[in-house]
């Protein structure tokens, strides 16, 4: 399956170059240049510390779109992120076939539509915050290889957009918090967005089979020892292998041209593994005054590690400290306040200033961050 997808990606590129002579080709792009610094040297947040950093969240992207004949087009988006030293990678690469004016099919490397802003979370110009709320937008696997169908429609006076998506993902993430290989097979999902006048709503539901294996082998080694020592059930409760996973999201929005309100709540579950139910939400309010949009938002994340996994081991069990360490690494409780403003100082560029204050309720530590940045589209 993986090699097939790679061939497909290659096919997309070949199609792009082969038709370059006579296809209608368009270039678009976007960029963000952000600088951030925490308020004190003991703080760290979103990859920033006290030293002013211009690289961490900056990015550049160039999109090439070629219209082939008969409602077929190919799109490739090359993005370089500062955190990866601006090494460019294909963030998106897909074919689009327009079945009709209301229905389009995309196939290739796509964005997984977990969140309301998933599709354009990298396009800072498309929203008012300095970054999408991390308490909700925290999955490491944003893309997949697969196929998606998008259908626009009307239900009376309500505009409806339905997206169905199928595919799979292979990549890297962190657990416990060591680097790990992750794969999600058989990703299947649906999103439904409704808009009427100033109101909008979005529902998302996705499922998949999740496998995670730590690269340094520490967790895998622990699971092996547990099994050899007669605690196979504990190992089974921890192991993340072909685990049934579900993701649910609900977002609501209101925008009357001046007042901008939005909120999103998500919950994900990975059945019979060490990964606990993950909960996150944010609420945000902004007000446009000419070119300025000051805003305030609150976000919260609340994951309780599955204590029952190590509690069944008994207090004298030699494995208990290690198992407890693994389980509790999944406990995350954070509240974050953000206040800032967008300033549209140019038709294609917005300046953003944002102050974020995050309280980690597990370590009882507060981290504060100021970010200043410019987002452009071209």
């Amino acid at each position: 399956m993986v090699s097939k997808i790679k061939q497909l990606s290659l096919g997309v590129l070949l199609a792009l170059t082969a038709t370059a002579v006579h296809a209608d080709i368009r270039f678009n792009g976007f960029a963000s240049i952000k600088a951030g610094s925490t308020l004190s040297s003991s703080d760290s947040l979103y990859g920033y510390d006290k030293e002013v950093d211009f690289k961490n969240e900056s990015l550049f992207a160039l999109q090439v779109q070629a219209d082939l004949a008969d409602r077929l087009s190919v799109t490739a988006q090359l993005m370089g992120r500062g955190e990866n030293d601006f090494n460019a990678e294909f963030e998106w690469a897909y074919l689009t076939y327009e079945l009709n004016s209301q229905t389009r099919i995309n196939a290739g490397r796509l964005r997984t539509p977990f969140y309301r802003y998933s599709d354009f979370m990298d396009v800072g110009y498309a929203y008012d915050w300095a970054r999408v709320p991390n308490s909700v937008y925290n999955l490491d696997f944003n893309n997949l290889e697969g196929v998606s169908l998008v259908r626009f429609g009307q239900l009376g006076t309500v505009d409806s957009t339905i997206q169905l998506i199928f595919g799979s993902y292979n990549g890297e993430t962190n657990i416990t918090p060591a680097p790990a290989d992750v794969s999600i097979d058989r990703v299947a999902g649906a999103t439904w967005e409704l808009m009427q006048g100033n109101f909008s709503a979005r529902l998302a539901y996705l499922t998949g089979k999740l496998t995670m294996v730590d690269q340094d082998g520490e967790l895998t080694g622990l699971l092996g020892l547990l099994e050899q020592s007669g605690f196979a059930e504990t190992a089974h409760q921890i192991r993340i292998e072909d685990a049934s996973s579900t993701f649910m999201g609900l977002a609501l929005g209101y925008d009357n041209g001046s007042l901008v309100l939005g909120g999103e709540i998500v919950r994900s579950k990975v059945k019979d593994t060490v990964i606990p139910t993950q909960n996150g939400y944010y609420v945000s309010a902004g007000y446009r005054i000419n070119s300025y949009t000051p805003f305030i938002s609150f976000e919260s994340r609340d994951n309780d590690g599955k204590a029952e996994i190590y509690q069944t081991l008994g207090s004298g069990n030699p494995f208990r400290p290690a198992v407890e360490g693994v389980v509790e690494s999944f406990t995350i409780k954070r509240d974050t306040w953000n206040i800032g403003s967008r300033y549209d100082f140019h038709p294609s560029a917005a300046l953003k200033v944002q102050f974020s204050s995050q309280k980690d309720k597990v370590s009882d530590q507060r981290d504060q961050l100021v970010t200043v940045g410019v987002d452009l589209v071209f």
Binding site: A61, Q102, R111, A126, F152, G257, N290, S291
Partner: protein, 130 residues
């Protein structure tokens, strides 16, 4: 930018808002403002909307009046679709005269122009209410 905005604001009253019309090929039927709005937002429809360039005062005025969005908001709106494979902005021509030629040659297209620019090459299918 402020100067530009000011210039746009100063221009708008002289355009006389009631005088903007939506035109189509002579064979076209009338359509509603809702339908026009959907077309210019890239949300379905069988007709092809034709736009003026970025920063054109008539375009800014049209988008503010009919779509209820400022130029920056429109730019943000399209950036949500263009970079995600969900849609593309309308084709653009430089002037009202070019728009009339384009629409006269493309039976499935529509466009907005000042009422005073209408010629017999095209048919007025809607008047943008003030």
């Amino acid at each position: 930018m402020k100067k530009l905005l000011l210039a746009v604001l100063l221009c708008v009253p002289t355009l006389s808002l009631a005088d903007m019309v939506v035109i189509a090929h002579p064979s076209a039927a009338d359509i509603s403002e809702d339908e026009i709005s959907r077309l210019y937002m890239g949300r379905a429809g069988s007709l092809m909307p034709v736009n003026l360039p970025d920063g054109n005062p008539l375009r800014d005025h049209f988008e503010q009046e009919l779509l209820g969005r400022s130029p920056a908001q429109m730019k943000a709106y399209w950036s949500r679709l263009v970079f995600t494979g969900k849609g593309r902005p309308p084709v653009e021509v430089a002037t009202s005269a070019e728009k009339i030629d384009f629409i006269a040659a493309n039976p499935n297209s529509i466009g907005y122009i000042p009422a005073s620019d209408v010629t017999d090459q095209v048919k007025v299918i809607a008047t943008i209410a003030q």
